[in-house]
């Protein structure tokens, strides 16, 4: 059912507005609205919208930039467990930005430390054998000049080395030395020593020739190549432990900082929500008014809470929704726990308008019924029940998963019941196990199955039309109610007419039903005018649309039968069994998806069209943590 709502006005002295908003946010039941007087722009004395003051603008900007900086830092932190939560000032405090900058700098330093250590490790990993080969060499020059050494990796090829020496001779005028040692495989580790003033030309030459130069991490820039290599080798054993330790430090940092940041995000959002809520409030020189909607049953509790926490200075006035306000009233659905999961099936549609009917109870009955009528297989039903029970027991998907598992359980049970009624278990395999049709044999009595499907459709559409007529009269839309009653009468007379034409009912029944149908047409014309004729034809079209129950059901049973026959024809038996399993799995998957979509479609298009009034407003209470 749709929960009855109340419109409330919370009134109090202007200076208590901020505190009152905080109390309302704590209670989290009021869906805020701008007072209608402010919305319409009519003359309303000294009542005006509450503007943000200068200080509040500054707080809003501070909160927005705090959220941005928190987002950046949180995104850069690794996932970590829980640690002792760090103290942070409130996000709107000026000190918060300073603290955030310090935390960001701390994170950067930790990241840089890890990156530096990984660079070293990378060099050791990549050039391990080369470093060992180069380490004993001593750089020297035949002539004068400050020494500069370059480590190279080249192929173990005499001509390549000679070519390098000849190029270096041209560049340095012969003032260089090249020392080479085998580094395993076909590689040669080469130590080139040149005067420092030729560094750039030699680097350009190596780059041009595609010679791989050993590059060392930035922290070794003060050392000569050979010293740096020795130092690196000496650190080789310690590096993995140092990387792990640095990563642990970063993880500890994240574990301390992340929860505090998340709390700050929550606080910032809540404070921002309160600031933005001010725009929906009205004020005079001395008083404020906050307007909104909440479930009627929650009004006394909110009234008492406000009175107790404001010392009786804030008061609450509640009103019932007025005619014409239906589109503004937020909609809350409340159903018994067995039916509640089926509210999920309404998620694809806008909520029903306040004051109209909640379709959940009808959905909970007919959705599994139509599903079962289409799948109608005891084997698939049992399999579905097992999957749904396992789903519920494992708690997959949280609360939503539990609801969907309940829907799956209801649908599978319905498929099991109809499977027994049709004498089917994995198609015609049930017959060989002694299962006999109790209601009808879908494979042979195709027309009877069609009659059953259309009959169920007639019942479903008639129920929708009856609900529509009830809803119209309840809301005093008399002409619409009369038209819907006429359509209902016509639908109601269709069944006995059909039975009489099939020779099941008497001629008197036929005459009476035709007369009732004619009255129905007249009522529809009286209520809706000539357009009623089109509606009547569409209603019959709606009923015929339920023929899909037969079409999909027949397809399901025939696919299962094909699987059984194919499997029986294959030799050896094990291969046939495997094929049967595969085909039944495919059929089971199809058997879940097609009836699900068809059943939803029959509800959305044929059933809801008769009474469902969408366009309701979802309920978004002003609350903490939203």
């Amino acid at each position: 059912m749709i929960v009855p709502m109340a419109k409330v006005q919370v009134l109090g002295p202007r200076r208590l507005l901020d505190d009152t908003l905080a109390l309302l946010q704590e209670q989290g039941v009021l869906d805020l609205r701008t007072p209608s007087l402010l919305e319409t722009g009519r003359s309303h004395g000294s009542l005006r919208s509450v503007p943000l003051r200068e200080g509040e603008h500054a707080i809003e900007s501070a909160l927005e930039s705090a959220l941005e900086s928190i987002g950046q830092l949180l995104a850069a932190l690794p996932a970590a467990g829980k640690g002792a939560e760090l103290y942070l000032p409130r996000p709107e405090d000026p000190e918060f930005a300073t603290r955030m900058a310090a935390l960001a700098a701390e994170r950067r330093a930790l990241e840089e430390r890890i990156a530096g250590l990984k660079d070293e490790l990378h060099v050791v990993d990549r050039y391990g054998r080369l470093l060992t080969a180069l380490a004993p060499l001593k750089p020297s020059l035949p002539g004068p000049g400050e020494l500069h050494s370059v480590g190279l990796v080249i192929r173990h090829d005499r001509r390549a080395l000679e070519l390098l020496e000849s190029e270096l001779k041209n560049l340095t005028g012969g003032n260089f030395s090249v020392q080479a040692r085998p580094a395993g495989g076909d590689q040669l580790a080469v130590l080139v020593t040149i005067p420092r003033q030729h560094t750039k030309e030699v680097a350009a030459l190596l780059f041009e020739r595609g010679v791989e130069e050993i590059r060392l991490p930035a922290r070794y820039s003060g050392h000569t190549l050979v010293d740096a290599l020795r130092l690196l080798l000496s650190r080789e054993r310690d590096l993995p432990a140092q990387v792990a330790s640095a990563e642990e430090d970063l993880g500890r940092f994240a574990a301390q900082v992340a929860p505090a940041l998340r709390r700050a995000v929550r606080e910032a959002h809540e404070r921002l929500a309160r600031l933005r809520a001010l725009a929906t409030c009205g004020e005079t020189h001395y008083a404020f008014v906050v307007t909104g909607w909440l479930p009627r049953e929650r009004v006394p509790a909110l009234e008492k809470f406000l009175e107790e926490n404001s010392g009786g200075r804030v008061t609450l006035v509640a009103y019932s929704p007025q005619p014409g306000e239906e589109k503004d009233v937020p909609v809350v659905l409340k159903n018994p726990s067995l039916l509640r999961p089926f509210q999920r099936l309404l998620a694809l549609l806008p909520p029903p308008t306040y004051g109209s009917l909640d379709p959940t109870p009808y959905l909970a009955v007919f959705f599994p019924l139509l599903f079962g009528l289409m799948l109608g297989d005891a084997g698939f039903g049992l399999l579905g029940i097992a999957v749904a029970l396992a789903w519920r027991a494992r708690g997959w998907g949280g609360a939503a998963g539990r609801d969907y598992a309940t829907i799956a359980l209801a649908c599978s049970t319905s498929a099991l019941v109809f499977g027994i009624a049709f004498g089917e278990a994995l198609g015609d395999l049930g017959a060989s196990l002694g299962l006999r049709p109790l209601l009808l044999d879908r494979r042979r009595a195709v027309l009877s199955f069609l009659g059953l499907a259309v009959g169920v459709g007639l019942l479903h559409v008639a129920l929708g039309t009856a609900l529509g007529a009830y809803s119209s009269f309840r809301r005093r839309h008399v002409r619409e109610g009369i038209a819907r009653s006429g359509r209902l009468l016509l639908l109601g007379s269709a069944a006995p007419v059909g039975l009489a034409l099939a020779g099941v009912a008497s001629r008197a029944t036929l005459a009476f039903s035709l007369a009732a149908g004619a009255v129905g047409v007249l009522l529809a014309l009286a209520g809706d005018g000539p357009m009623a004729l089109l509606d009547l034809v569409l209603s019959l079209g709606n009923v015929l649309s339920y023929a899909r129950l037969m079409a999909l059901g027949l397809a399901s049973v025939l696919l299962a039968e094909v699987a059984n026959h194919l499997a029986a024809a294959v030799h050896p038996a094990a291969a046939g069994l495997a094929l049967a399993l595969l085909l039944h799995t495919v059929n089971f998957t199809l058997g879940l998806v097609s009836p699900l979509i068809a059943s939803l479609r029959l509800h959305y298009v044929e059933f809801f069209e008769k009474f469902y009034e969408g366009g309701g407003r979802p309920y978004h209470p002003f609350a903490l943590g939203t």
């Binding site: 649309s545 023929a547 939803l600």
Partner: protein
């Protein structure tokens, strides 16, 4: 021979119905995808729109069944 004609008629009935449904659904699907990229909240309406022409092929199937069974 009569059985061959019946089977061909049933095949035409459901084949043409299926082609018509596919064509209409392709048009609605294209328009629906465009609408959803602009207004994701229309997904319910789009699904309903997409499901409407299915009735064509279902009715064609019923006609085919009647042709094959002779309504008995």
């Amino acid at each position: 021979m009569e059985r061959v004609y019946s089977a061909a008629a049933a095949a035409f009935a459901i084949g043409i119905g299926a082609l018509a449904t596919a064509w209409v659904q392709s048009r609605i699907g294209t328009a629906g995808a465009g609408a959803l990229s602009e207004k994701p909240e229309l997904r319910g309406t789009v699904i309903v729109m997409l499901a409407i022409p299915e009735t064509l092929v279902i009715l064609a199937f019923v006609v085919a069944v009647f042709i094959l069974t002779g309504g008995r």
